[in-house]
Amino acid sequence: METTTLSRSPLAATARPLAAVRRVAGRWGLIAALAALPVYYGISDLTNGYQAGLVAGHAVIHHDLSKLGFNFAEGLSNGAIWALIAIGYTLVYGIIELINFAHGDVFMIGSFSAVGLWAVLGLGLTTSTLGLAGGLLVTLIIAMIVTGSLNVLIERVAYRPLRSAPKLAALITAVGFSFILQNVGLLWRGGSPQSVPDLIHAQQTVFTIGGVPILRGYILAFAVMIPLVFLLTWFISRTRAGRAMRATAQDPEAARLMGIDVNKTISLTFLLGGMLAGAAGLVYALYETNVWYFQGFKAGLIAFTAAVMGGIGNVRGAVLGGLIIGVIQSLADSRMGPQWTEAVVFGYLIAIMVLRPRGLLGEETREAG
């Protein structure tokens, strides 16, 4: 931690007149930036109104917050998927300080294997509810096992040999593996998005809160995310292996001296991260009802942004960041048009880096002084 203060001092010297501004900006800037979009669009909806539909050729203008509510509902449920992926980034970064660039593509493989399993199990639109529930549960477990072991394999082949090399090396192999997995996906299911059967009728409304329809897809996303996150936090905080993970994250060398098998602990971390990505893959396929070899790349970047926003290395932060990014994304999708979403999300990523590199809940790390 000494370096943090040391490396900051020369900069502080050059920017001393701005130090106070920077301190305020660091504390409130990110929160203000995050609140800006919903507040702006909320006020705009209330004062200018929005077009809620067409009746007999005339635009129906509403002046309420239900469109914003709809954005939030959609965004939060999308965010639940990003949160599951973001946890994988945050766990791995917490323990070996590596951005596991291939993680998004592991998620993609999770989607693909889930969809492949449906075909194997014969799940279709005509399957009975009970069969569907059982089949999806089996799919979930197998997809999680596939992606978990894939992630462990990647660590073993590509990262472990480079543990003592400069960190750049491992990051580059991570990028390399990301491309390999993308091409595996490309050969597996072709180059364009493929639609998959809408097994759970994801767009069907279950109930309505204050004019905001809650769809089945939303409930599914939370029904998978919340228990998994609770299980994970329980595992990390209560079990022996979880304690080993925390110890290794704090100081690998000391952990090794205390008799912790560091390699095994790191493998376990990759296993957990990969499994969550597999679960996210299944939810994504059910929710979006299409899969694409490139979905992992975009999802990976969004989830990484989420992990950084929450504070990398912090599981709770990853969940919070995922949900926030989901809302930002959904706001950008519906208000500015989906072609701008990526730029908005990345704009936020840069804003975080400038204003508060440690994220909302994170502590100062060596990288982001």
């Binding site: 370096t3 490396s7 003592s164 400069p166 491309f179 690998p252 880096m353 060596r366």
Partner: protein, 397 residues
């Protein structure tokens, strides 16, 4: 095994000692002469010349990225942004795209009658370098407080934002009914390079194109070599090796880092402008994240920080991408009974090369001497312990 490795290394060191400076200069001269006469060995519009032109242009980009990643140790995953900006500099300054404007400078008689901005190719090159240097500085600013992986992510985000702007630029109006970019339609009908006395270049005779990009390569190479040995170059390497120590020795952190971004970006922009002219279109679809990785792969396979490595890496991947995979090996999978073409998985191949290279030969094909010293086994145990201790910046990352 390690004994053999040690013997190999001692032979290599001996070979390096015995190859005096004068000999390496003669070698460089011979390579330049070979480079100049090379196109006479092939027909003026052969596929091989085409691949060579692209490979040399890649080598220029690779040299540019090597300044940022290799010299200064700042991992840049958004280098495609400068390819895009360089190409758009050509699209903006050398075509009828801004049709309301009427600016002409030293262009061919045909182009000087057309509406739009038409500048001489050399002026466009300078313009592209300046635009990219400015953009590089802007991209560098938010990364000043960050290190390692975080820099990589910020640059990646900038690259993606520039890519999104390029695609959506069609809906950004700059006045007079003109838009910022032409999106996926592409700015086409860009001017071919024209030089008084030589005339306009055309795609039936590729030799002038080759000499043009070869000349650019030589200039960039020369600048690179001089920069490496300059005060600035030594400052970059010092920052790369140990930021805290370098700053406490009085190296201006902000200026040095921003210069790395700006200079690296300028080279990428020059190559990008050349690509714009050579492909005769500036299309937003060209500027994908994969391209950043492709250029990074060149730097890494050549040897991070090594100038000759960057050239060799650029040429090698250029030939693999534009000659070996599409022309020679493309049908290999179908001969082996697989139902795909090799061009579909080219990025997978580059990814595989990256992984293999990092695991087996992290120093690259032509390693930089300093980095090779770091990676050799004799001092590695001590260094590895140092690198693992908390508080030291994680190696060169």
């Amino acid at each position: 095994m390690s004994k053999l490795g040690a013997r190999l290394r001692s032979w290599q060191a001996a070979a390096q000692r015995r190859l005096p400076r004068r000999r390496s200069r003669a070698l460089a001269g011979a390579l330049i002469v070979i480079g100049i006469v090379l196109p006479f060995l092939f027909s003026p519009s052969s596929g091989f010349i085409n691949a060579t032109i692209i490979a040399v242009a890649y080598a220029v980009m690779s040299l540019g990225l090597n300044v940022v990643v290799g010299f200064a140790g700042l991992l840049d995953l958004g280098y495609v942004a400068f390819y895009a900006l360089g190409a758009y500099a050509l699209g903006w300054l050398g075509s009828g795209f801004f049709f309301k404007a009427k600016i002409h400078a030293l262009v061919s008689p045909v182009a000087s009658t057309l509406p739009g901005v038409h500048l001489n190719f050399i002026l466009i090159l300078i313009g592209a370098a300046l635009i990219c240097a400015a953009a590089g500085t802007v991209i560098g600013l938010p990364t000043l407080r960050l290190r390692g992986d975080y820099i990589a992510i910020v640059t990646l985000a900038f690259g993606e934002i520039i890519g999104t702007l390029a695609v959506n630029g069609q809906s950004i109006h700059v006045g007079g009914g003109m838009t910022l970019t032409a999106g996926n339609l592409g700015i086409s009908a860009v001017d071919a390079p024209y030089f008084p006395g030589i005339g306009s270049f055309n795609l039936l005779n590729l030799r002038p194109w080759y000499w043009l990009i070869f000349a650019i390569l030589l200039v960039v190479l020369f600048v690179n070599l001089r920069l490496r040995d300059s005060r600035l170059g030594r400052a970059w390497i010092a920052l790369r090796e140990d930021e805290v120590a370098a700053v406490s020795m009085g190296i201006p952190l902000v200026k040095t880092k921003l210069f790395a971004y700006a200079i690296g970006a300028a080279f990428g922009g020059m190559s990008g402008a050349f690509f714009g002219a050579y492909y005769t279109t500036v299309n937003a679809g060209q500027f994908q994240f994969g391209f950043s990785i492709f250029i990074l792969a060149m730097v890494i396979i050549g040897g991070i920080g090594s100038i000759w490595g960057a050239v060799v890496g650029g040429l090698a991947l250029g030939y693999i991408n534009n000659y070996l995979i599409p022309d020679v090996l493309n049908d290999l999978p179908s001969h082996l009974g697989f139902n795909f073409q090799l061009t579909q998985v080219e990025f997978g191949i580059f990814g595989f090369l990256l992984v293999i290279m990092m695991v087996l030969r992290p120093q690259g094909l032509i390693p930089e001497r300093r980095r090779q010293l770091e990676l050799t086994a004799e001092i590695a145990p001590v260094d590895a312990q140092l690198a693992e201790a908390p508080g030291t910046p994680g190696g060169a990352a």
